[in-house]
Each structure stands twice: as structure tokens, then as C-alpha cells.
Symmetry: C2
Subunit: 407 residues, 2 copies
């Protein structure tokens, strides 16, 4: 007998039919003797419908009242799913975030979980009930209803698993796991059976949009075994995201991530004086723009340097304007910009103990005549910025060169 926390997102509970089919899936675990806690989202479409209503009243509705409004979405789902389970003869009980005291801070719309009172949940589990809990929502210490913001129901599930010391937290989604690369780009991409938290964090933040980063951080912090799997197929295995120690088959490279959301801005011909990086990046961060890759290089002209960095494409125009001002302040030659870049990253814990991964990566790209514009590295990843037209070529050649298509 295991204690399992399962999370079903909005698409999985989009209709009465789908809710019934989720109930059937849950019942197979209960029938097998497991204790099951389920966290669910609003039926897909509901959140948008309610946001529309609010916007017909106010352009910028009160965040507190938006939370009161939107949390009704999951409340509808928990009641319907509990009914569907009862209809199958599977005893069930629903709880809102407030009822099980998912206590958060008071940041409406993006609250963070501080604690969960597991007493009521454990009591209901001991009564042989499936416990169905509204995801995405909580309550602050003043009793006000809060939401965790987008993707928050993944976090609810992980937090529940941590609070209950569950054996596994299963996140049901519309993909059947985490792949070695985006299968739409690399048809030979292979589903991984295991991946470490750290790798998953790199994969997720680099654009493999399977799980919310926060929920993986949370899982890592509380050592919750997290499984991503498909709600659409029977008996899925998915991908287990767990601590490094628990992974037996350790590959050098786990996967290839890419990110098409970045753009590059450069300041050319900067007088090479001390503190120049600070002077360039300070006004950028003052405007709440996040910088990812950074490159400083000596220019061809004597005593002049070039300085380049990447930002989110949403911040591209603003970054160019700021840099133009910095250019005249510093007496630099010109601003260059390019929003046709893509970042491709190799991720793998094994990299730590294997030298030469970067060399091999650059060699592969060189052979394909892919020009590398920027490089950044961490302990478990190497990223390069390249022209976006080379995306498919780079991903496929690296995938093959590092044998990612092979078990």
C-alpha cells in the first residue's frame, strides 16, 4: 500500500465525460490498495470565462476579489469529481484550500504556500476515502482566499505530497513524460524514465514546458518523487523526477532543451574601462528586465570592447532603447540587436564527471556549419545561442551525436 498524490489539470477535467474518466483512473489505484489524494484544477475554459466577467466590470480588478472569483473554478471540479468517484462506488470527499488550511502568504494571485494542515486529510484517508483537494488555492493567515498563480496546482500537489510524506506525486498531463528533446523537432526523441530534479529544472527553465519550475523546486526541497505522466493513456509509466541518488542509470547527457523566447542586444565599441559591465546592466535590471546569457569580448579596434546579452523577446524593444541611452553615456560606437536567435542547451548530471562535452558539442555544430554566437555553462548544462534558422539542424545533430535516441 502506497500513499499517492495525483494532480489532474484543466484539460483532464474539461468535461463531465473527462471527469468520469479521471475517476475511473483514480479508482484503479484505490482498488489496488493505495491511499489516494487528488489535486485538481478548474475545468479548462472556466478561468478565462470568469476573467472575462471580471474585466467587463474593471480593467484591473482587485487581486483579492479575483482570487475569490477564480477559486470557484476548482471548487466546482472537486465536487463533481467526488460525485463521479462516489458513483463508481469509491468513497470520496472534497476539500477547498481553505478547508485543509493550505496556508499561504497574502500575495493575491501569486501566493506561496507556507504550510498545510494534514490532519483532516489523514482522517479522511483513514476512513478509506479518496480525498479530492482544490489545487491552485489557499488561504492567508487572515482567512482571505488566495491563489498560487499560473501552474499553481502542480505546486499544490507537490506540497500535499510533502506534507503527507507521500510515496509519489503524480502529475497527469497531456504528454506522456519528459523527452530527450522536443519530439516536434527531433522525431527520434526518446521518453526518459528518470531525470534528476536539477536536470528537470534546467530542462524546464530552458523551455521544455512540462512542469512548472516552482513545483520542481518544491519537490527537490522536500525530496518528493514526482512523476509526469499522461492522463490520456492506460497504465502510463511517464518520467520519474527524483533525487540524483535514486537514479540508477546515469547518462552523461540527459536531454537537449531549446528556448525560442530570447533575443540578443549588443553594445559595440565600448571604451574598455573598469565597471563597464555594471554600467550597462544596471539600467537593464532597474527596469526589471532579466538577462540570461552575457558575452564580453575585446573588439577589433584598439582599447574597445563589445558587450552582448540576451533578454526575453518581450523585453527586446525596451532593452534596445535603454542600451541606446547607455551608448551615448559611455561613448560607445553603436547598438546591435537580433531577435532571430535561439538557445540550445545540453543538460546532464553526468557532465560533471566527463570532460570534453563542450568540445564535442562545438565540434558537432562546427561540422554542420552552425555559427555559435554566445556560450554559457553551468555544472550540468552547456547552452549556445545560434541563429534560429539552425534550430532543427542543431538539435537533431546533437541528439544523434550524443546517442540520445538509444536507451
Amino acid at each position: 500500500m502506497a500513499l499517492i498524490v495525483q494532480k489532474f489539470g484543466g484539460t483532464s477535467v474539461a468535461s463531465v465525460e473527462r471527469i468520469k474518466s479521471v475517476a475511473k483512473k483514480i479508482k484503479t489505484f484505490k482498488d489496488a490498495g493505495d491511499q489516494v489524494v487528488v489535486s485538481v484544477s478548474a475545468m479548462s475554459g472556466e478561468t478565462n470565462r470568469m476573467t472575462d466577467l471580471a474585466h467587463q466590470i474593471q480593467d484591473k480588478p482587485s487581486l483579492r476579489e479575483m482570487d475569490v472569483l477564480l477559486t470557484t473554478g476548482e471548487q466546482v471540479t472537486i465536487s463533481l469529481l467526488s460525485m463521479a468517484l462516489q458513483q463508481l462506488g469509491c468513497d470520496a470527499i472534497s476539500y477547498t484550500g481553505s478547508q485543509v488550511r493550505i496556508t499561504t502568504d497574502s500575495e493575491h494571485g501569486k501566493a506561496r504556500i507556507k504550510s498545510i494542515d494534514s490532519e483532516l486529510i489523514v482522517k479522511s484517508l483513514n476512513e478509506e476515502k479518496v480525498v479530492v483537494i482544490a489545487g491552485f488555492q489557499g488561504v492567508d493567515e487572515g482567512g482571505h482566499i488566495t491563489t498560487l498563480g499560473r501552474g499553481g496546482s502542480d505546486t499544490t500537489a507537490v506540497a500535499l505530497a510533502a506534507a503527507l510524506n507521500a510515496d509519489e506525486c503524480q502529475i497527469y498531463t497531456d504528454v506522456d513524460g519528459v523527452y530527450t528533446a522536443d519530439p516536434r523537432i527531433e522525431p527520434n526523441a526518446r521518453k526518459m524514465n528518470n531525470i534528476s530534479y536539477e536536470e528537470m529544472l534546467e530542462m524546464a527553465s530552458l523551455g521544455s514546458k512540462v512542469l512548472q519550475i516552482r513545483s520542481v523546486e518544491f519537490a527537490s526541497k522536500y525530496n518528493v518523487s514526482l512523476r509526469v505522466l499522461s492522463s490520456m493513456i492506460e497504465n502510463p509509466i511517464g518520467t520519474l523526477i527524483t533525487s540524483e541518488e535514486k537514479i540508477m542509470e546515469e547518462a552523461v547527457i540527459s536531454g537537449i532543451a531549446h528556448n525560442k523566447d530570447e533575443a540578443k542586444v549588443s553594445l559595440i565599441g565600448v571604451p574598455d574601462i573598469p565597471g563597464v559591465a555594471y554600467k550597462i546592466l544596471k539600467p537593464i535590471s532597474d527596469n526589471n528586465i532579466e538577462v540570461d546569457m552575457i558575452l564580453q569580448s575585446v573588439s577589433s579596434k584598439e582599447g574597445l570592447a563589445n558587450f552582448a546579452f540576451t533578454v526575453h523577446r518581450n523585453d527586446f524593444e525596451e532593452s534596445k532603447e535603454i542600451l541606446e541611452k547607455v551608448r551615448s553615456d559611455l561613448g560607445a560606437l553603436k547598438v546591435q540587436s537580433d531577435d532571430k536567435i535561439v538557445k540550445v542547451s545540453l543538460v546532464g548530471i553526468g557532465m560533471r564527471s566527463h570532460a570534453g562535452i563542450a568540445t564535442k558539442m562545438f565540434e558537432v555544430l562546427h561540422k554542420e556549419n552552425v555559427n555559435i554566437q554566445m556560450i554559457s555553462t553551468s555544472e550540468i548544462k552547456i547552452s549556445v545561442a545560434i541563429d534560429e534558422k539552425y534550430l532543427e539542424l542543431a538539435v537533431r545533430s546533437l541528439h544523434s551525436a550524443f546517442d540520445l535516441d538509444k536507451e
Copy 2:
């Protein structure tokens, strides 16, 4: 400065436009310096929509889960109305039944309010906020969400007014008050400015469907001044329902109520032995059928009696069947039945001190050749059962004879 509790039903908040117009109305009270607590229902249609979803899953959904589901309806309204008030520059805050601890018993779907914790409401009022509270819902001592059943949001408003010791509880509805008779039957019917709780209870239970009986009982118990008024017109006065002592202009007769939902069943030729009424009515009440008017009379045949009573038309067929069995047990001659009757009642506190009201009523009906089939009286009402074809004639002639059309 007064403390006012206002209640707006589902029709008044059926759309974003109507919610905005309710907000405007509330603001006029706030601007005049009043403290305002508002209780609202779900947007009309929402409860049916959700009930449909539930019935797609279960024929008889769990009452507990139905309450979790249906209470989202008012939660949507409180958030939208709070936004609409804020948009008008009127500070507002929403609370669910759970948040302000509207504590009920655990009878899901028809719970009764036990207490309200007014602390949070008073705190918000002192912060100059309009407090918007979900009607119809509460929470039991175990923290489970409950609903008060149909019409429950009137009761919420009255209970709030009682707990807060409010100056007035205003129930906004689609009629502009309580009339001396149904205006669709008697065009000269006049809106009353005042009516006592007792009279209103008689009027309500007799078919003037303006207010839920329970909320009037509640108002009477806690001496809450209750005003029924229209949400559709500007500055309505409505009808004030209050304690007898507070009513200055005391009419002998306040109004005429009628009820078309009753049917008559009779047992003819019953041997006149002791306990016959008990033997006839016991099996009726055992089947949860409520009896209203009762008539026992000596039959024309020696030693035989007739026994007649009225029941709700929904219970007509079942009552006939039960009575048929009783007939053979008691050796009575036959069962007679008539579902073409109507009950017409004169209601008025002044009746207590005025003899001859009944005599005058019977005289008026006699003059119009309306045959009286049954009579029942209480301290403040006289009811007669008559053929339903005489309904209009009886109401109009009584209305005129008792000068109800005159101020």
C-alpha cells in the same frame, strides 16, 4: 447614520450589467452615510447549470458535494459585486459564508443557521467598507460547507441583520412590496406601507409569494425590521414588515390572500365512532402529507358523518388512494375528491378586536352566490374553500367590501 442589510436575489444580479446597477444602488446608501452589508444570491441560471452538471454524473448526488458545488454560485457574485463597487470608488470586501462563520447545523441542502460571528463584518464596516456576503450558505461545526436550501438567502440577510443589530433589512425583489391582494386578480389592490410579522406569515403561507416564510419567522423572532422593495425602480419605499407595536395605522383587515395549490378529499358516510378523525388522518400524516383545512360534519344518514380535508395538489392522488383504504377499514360509504377548489383568506391583526368580520365575509360571498365549502379561522385570519371558478369574484367583492382599495 444607519446600519442596513440589503439582499439582492438571483434576478437582480443575473448579468454584469445588473450587478453594476445593484452597485450603484448600494452606493447611494453609502454616500448618504449608512453602513451597508449586502447579501447576494447566485446569478440566476447558475444554480440550474451546476445542478445539470451534477446530474450528468449522479442521479442523486451526495448532498455534501452538492453544497460544495452550488455555493460557488454566490461566491462568483460576491466577488463581481465587490469589483463593481470598487469601480464606483466605493470600497468593498467580499466574504463567503465560511469566512464570516455563518455556522449552521449539518443538514446539507437545508441547513439552519445557528450563529454568525460578526467580528470580521464589524471590522470591515469600521474600515468604511461595504461588506458583501454570500447568501444561502454556511459552514457546520466540522468545517463542511452547507446550504440553507431554497430561499435561504432571505434568511441569511435577516440573520445578518439580527447578528449586527441592524436598523433595517431590505429585501430587493421584482415586486415593489406586499399588496392587499394579488394585483393580477384585483387591479385595485393597493401596496401596503406596513404589515406585521404575523400578518405577513399568514399572507406568505397563504400564497402571496413575496418572501420566504422562514425569513419572516426569523425576523419576527429577532425583531428585525424587514422591508420588501423593488430592485427595478429608483428610491423605492416598499412594504415594511415589523412588529405589531411599531405599526401606527392599524387596519381591521390588511389583505386578502389566496391559494390555488390545494385540493379537497372527503370520506362520506363514516360510522360516527370515537377516534374517527385520528384513524383517518394518521395514515395521511404517516405518508408525510400535510393537511390544511379540516371539516367534520354530521351526515344526513343516521349515525354517519362526513369527514373532509385539504392537501397540497401534489399529494392529491396519493391522498385519494390512502383514503380508499381507510374507507374499507372503517366501513365508510365512499371517497369524494375535488381538486378544483381555491382557498381565499382575509388577514388582519385588527380582526382580534372586531367581531363580525366572519359574518360580513360570509354575507359578501352569499350575495355573490359563492358557495362556501369549508371554513377555517385563526386569531388573525379567516379562510374559506370555494370552487376555483369563483376566485376572482370572491377576491374582488371582498376587497371592495372591506375597503382595501382605500388608504
